[in-house]
């Protein structure tokens, strides 16, 4: 926990010359890992003729209109995914912030039981309840609606959300709450005026985990949505491949456009992004 701050800025090793070799090796590994994406990037601005004549290298002129073609195709999917992510975030934060607050700051009979019931769900793999959940949604008549996409994300996200919120809120100094109570704030006021603003970092983490989850979810939207306008990005791309299978430029442009939201989050919120990838444990790298 504190080991990072304790670490003195002492050089790790004294050997000098060998660093060149280390740089070369790391560069090779990094480039090999990035190569498929770089290939996708260079192909995404080619026409099929350019692709045929200049397979490996970027070829001029760049055809950025491929991105327009791709955007027209995947735009509905992007909108659906964004909607699902936004609605899920609102639902998850509302549910788990309230529950986390109550669990962290109040004592009441059944408190431990309730929390254990929440934690137990961490062990239930999403894929295992996929089929019964599907049948349930079918019985409710929710297939092919946006709700079938949102509700499972809220239900799954609220589990981790509640745990993260509870842990975070327990760390907020009690004095702040005491002071507010002395000033006459009731629990509702404590929640809105103190909890909400102080919890922004953990709300951010939960939101990021949710976006990553929505963007990577595959089987659930594949099975529950057949209406084209309601498809999410992950599923839409599959059919996109089928539609324009021979038009490589727009196809790769579509893949990259679909990746853009996560890439932006990774670039600007790298620390939280990695925490999200690792199951929401902040400070994990």
């Amino acid at each position: 926990m504190t080991s990072l701050t304790v670490k003195p800025p002492v050089r790790r090793r004294r050997a000098g010359r060998k660093q060149i070799g280390v740089y070369v090796a790391l560069t090779v590994i990094a480039v090999v890992g990035l190569l498929p994406y770089l290939f996708a990037l260079s192909t995404s601005v080619k026409t099929n003729q350019q692709f045929a004549s200049e397979y490996w290298l970027p070829s001029f002129p760049f055809h950025f209109e491929n991105y327009v073609v791709a955007w027209v195709q995947i735009q509905p999917y992007m909108v659906t995914s964004l909607l699902v992510a936004a609605a899920s975030i609102v639902g998850i934060v509302a549910l788990s912030l309230l529950a986390g607050f109550v669990l962290a700051r109040f004592d009441f009979p059944g408190r431990n039981f309730f929390f254990i019931m929440v934690i137990t769900l961490m062990m239930v793999p999403g894929i295992a309840s996929l089929i019964p959940l599907f049948v349930m949604m079918k019985d409710l008549g929710l297939l092919n609606t946006i709700w079938v996409l949102i509700i499972p994300h809220i239900a799954a996200g609220a589990v981790l959300g509640t745990i993260l919120m509870k842990t975070f809120i327990e760390g907020i100094p009690q004095e702040i709450f005491d002071a507010a109570r002395v000033d006459g704030a009731n629990p509702a006021r404590l929640f809105w005026s103190i909890m909400m603003p102080l919890s922004l970092p953990v709300i951010g983490t939960v939101s990021l985990i949710t976006v990553i989850g929505v963007w990577n979810d595959f089987f659930w939207p594949l099975l529950t949505i057949s209406q084209n306008e309601l498809k999410t990005v992950s599923v839409g791309l599959i059919f996109f491949q089928g539609q324009s299978g021979t038009d490589f430029g727009p196809m790769f442009a579509g893949y990259l456009l679909a990746s853009l939201p996560l890439l932006l989050l990774f670039t600007f919120l790298s620390k939280y992004f990695l925490a999200g990838v690792q199951g929401g444990l902040p400070g994990s790298h």
Partner: protein, 302 residues
């Protein structure tokens, strides 16, 4: 744990009202489906029609389902391969921590993990293009090096399809193992390395004598996480091969979905899903135990 309000033992009813929404959502959309899946695994489940109770029939059928067990065999290969691939993230993490410049470390770390930022589906689709028989990059590379005879339909050959799937994400650095190895190595106190250097311990010796033992617990944890992830393996195989050719890349998740959606055998699929669920929950319980006992390590979380 601080109690508020401190004295009052009888809880305010408002507390339960505040917890009600979460309880309802989790009850309806987490507990109910999970339990109904177990319940209906003992039925000939016909959603929308009358289901009949069949006892253990579904499970008996499962024991005779060769494809189901073959799919677990594939999982074994997938698991063994993933563990083998840790060599690359391990070596990369070792190389990375030996960089003296903090700035260079940050830049290389970022470059190495950028592929993690791409959605899994995009990675799968890009790789499915790399494997294409005609225009695919893999075959083109072989042709460039005069090895055109080896060029082939990688995903269409039952003997190669699974291994082709496993190579997706090569060189396997962008992932959880790398992050864990790197953060573990980063957090080993420098004094230990200084003591080593004084005693004349070389880099390789240090790796086996210090780095590896200190990573032991993290590796244990990682092993179990990989087992759980492997049990849920599925969407990559779905996108690239649909479990084919000739079930060469069949995995339990795909078998389960096939039975439900193509075979309309919902009760049987529920039995398969319950089995997967039991496997996973046992392993998750072990992970939870590890987490709780994990007080010896100097590394925070994973």
């Amino acid at each position: 744990m601080v109690v508020l309000p401190p004295k009052k033992k009888r809880a305010h009813w408002g507390i339960y009202v505040a917890l009600l929404p979460l309880a309802l959502v989790l009850g309806a959309f987490q507990y109910y489906p999970a339990l109904s899946g177990i319940w209906y695994s003992f039925w000939d489940w016909k959603p929308g029609f009358t289901s009949t109770f069949t006892g253990l029939d579904n499970y008996v059928r499962m024991f005779g389902d060769e494809i189901w067990w073959k799919s677990f065999g594939n999982l074994g290969i997938i698991f063994a391969f993933s563990v083998l691939t840790w060599v690359v993230p391990l070596v990369s993490a070792e190389l990375l921590v030996s960089l003296k410049s903090e700035r260079a470390q940050f830049i290389y770390r970022t470059l190495l993990i950028v592929p993690m930022a791409f959605p899994g589906v995009v990675t799968a689709l890009v790789w499915s293009f790399l494997y294409q028989p005609n225009n695919g990059v893999v075959n083109q590379i072989l042709r460039v090096f005069g090895l055109g005879d080896f060029a082939q339909n990688w995903l269409g050959n039952p003997e190669l399809a699974l291994i082709a799937l496993l190579f997706i994400g090569f060189p396997f650095v962008a992932g959880l193992p790398f992050l864990i190895f790197y953060s573990t190595l980063k957090n080993i106190p420098n004094e230990i390395f200084e003591a080593c250097a004084l005693d004349g311990v070389g880099r390789v010796r240090r790796f086996f004598a210090i780095d590896m033992p200190l990573m032991g617990r993290q590796v244990q944890l990682l092993l179990i996480l990989v087992i759980i992830n492997t049990l849920q393996y599925g969407f990559v195989a779905y996108i690239l091969t649909h479990g084919g050719p000739d079930n060469a890349t069949m995995v339990p998740v795909l078998r389960m979905l096939n039975q439900a959606y193509d075979g309309q055998a919902w009760g049987y699929a529920a039995a398969l899903s319950t089995t997967l669920f039991v496997f996973t929950i046992v392993l998750s319980a072990i992970v939870a135990l590890f987490r709780r006992r994990d007080t010896t390590t100097n590394v925070k979380g994973i």
